[in-house]
């Protein structure tokens, strides 16, 4: 079955954003806590964190996990039931 138009667009986007030195999923996990705190504090993304940002852009799996992670962090310190 041919790719749908949306899949072709996603593929082209994925190809366009490909860089030679991407970190893998475990590399992303190693730095994602720091990345989340940087993001939540509204601080600029430093060069070391750009690799995490790129990985999240290219890995749907880690991207979904990251969104879940941010929500979980917001609930971690809530005291009301």
């Amino acid at each position: 079955m041919p790719l749908s138009k949306q899949q072709v667009s996603s593929l082209v986007q994925l190809v366009a954003s490909t860089t030679p030195d991407e970190i893998d999923c475990d590399g992303c996990l190693d730095h994602v806590a720091e990345f989340a705190e940087t993001l939540l504090a509204g601080l600029p993304i430093e060069s070391a964190m750009v690799a995490v940002q790129n990985h999240l852009q290219n890995c749907h799996c880690c991207q979904m996990e990251f969104e879940t992670f941010l929500k979980a962090l917001s609930g971690m310190d809530e005291t009301s039931e």
């Binding site: 190809v15 992670f69 979980a72």
Partner: protein
């Protein structure tokens, strides 16, 4: 980037037998609270079970904590990965990888119907034509993995079905993307051209 801290109160307590139980309880409460916020449909015990598994994993990995974030944030990243892995496993349990290897690979429809102008349409068609030819040179494993990813299957689940691991599948797809990008660059298309073609 700041230098990693040499010690952290959480790490010290978790490593101290006289304080470990108290620290584990405090951390478990925070993990459960965060997990319940996200996985509320997973049943009352889901967050508790994941937090328990996460605490074991956190203690195993504690020497890898470098203090670049707050300890509870780092701990939660581990708990969320465990939780999402379990949810994904259930969600995709009946999905086979075979359906993404249908013998046609990543066949593209090159014809384009709605574009603002003729020049853009010609460029997009040309990019798709090149892409289609380059895809034929990808290995069967690469084509199957790329199609599965484009169909929304997480790399972790692809790995589970190929006796591989998440990092290896990510690399497999990355190598495919790199090959396609190099081929398109050799044909004269930059990353900006590609992005412009789907704008």
């Amino acid at each position: 980037m700041p230098e990693p801290m040499t010690s952290d109160p959480w790490v010290e307590k978790l490593k101290d037998p006289t304080q470990q139980e108290e620290a584990l309880t405090a951390l478990r409460v925070r993990l459960v609270r965060g997990l319940k916020k996200v996985f509320s449909s997973g049943g009352e015990s889901f967050a508790e079970d994941i937090a328990q598994d996460a605490l074991i994993r956190i203690l195993e990995k504690i020497d890898q904590f470098e203090g670049r974030s707050q300890f509870p944030t780092w701990a939660m990243s581990i708990a969320v990965r465990l939780a999402t892995s379990q949810v994904r496993r259930k969600h995709f349990k009946d999905v086979s990888l075979e359906q993404f290897a249908d013998g046609e690979g990543l066949k593209l429809d090159v014809a384009v119907d709605t574009l603002p102008g003729a020049a853009e349409q010609i460029e997009q068609s040309s990019i798709y034509q090149n892409l289609s030819e380059l895809i034929d040179d990808l290995s069967d494993r690469q084509q199957t993995a790329v199609r599965a990813v484009l169909s929304g299957m997480p790399v972790e689940e692809i790995a589970n079905r190929t006796a591989s691991n998440r990092n290896a599948v990510y690399k497999l797809v990355h190598d495919a993307r790199t090959k396609l990008k190099s081929g398109l660059e050799a044909a004269g298309y930059s990353a900006e051209d590609l992005t412009g073609s789907i704008a």
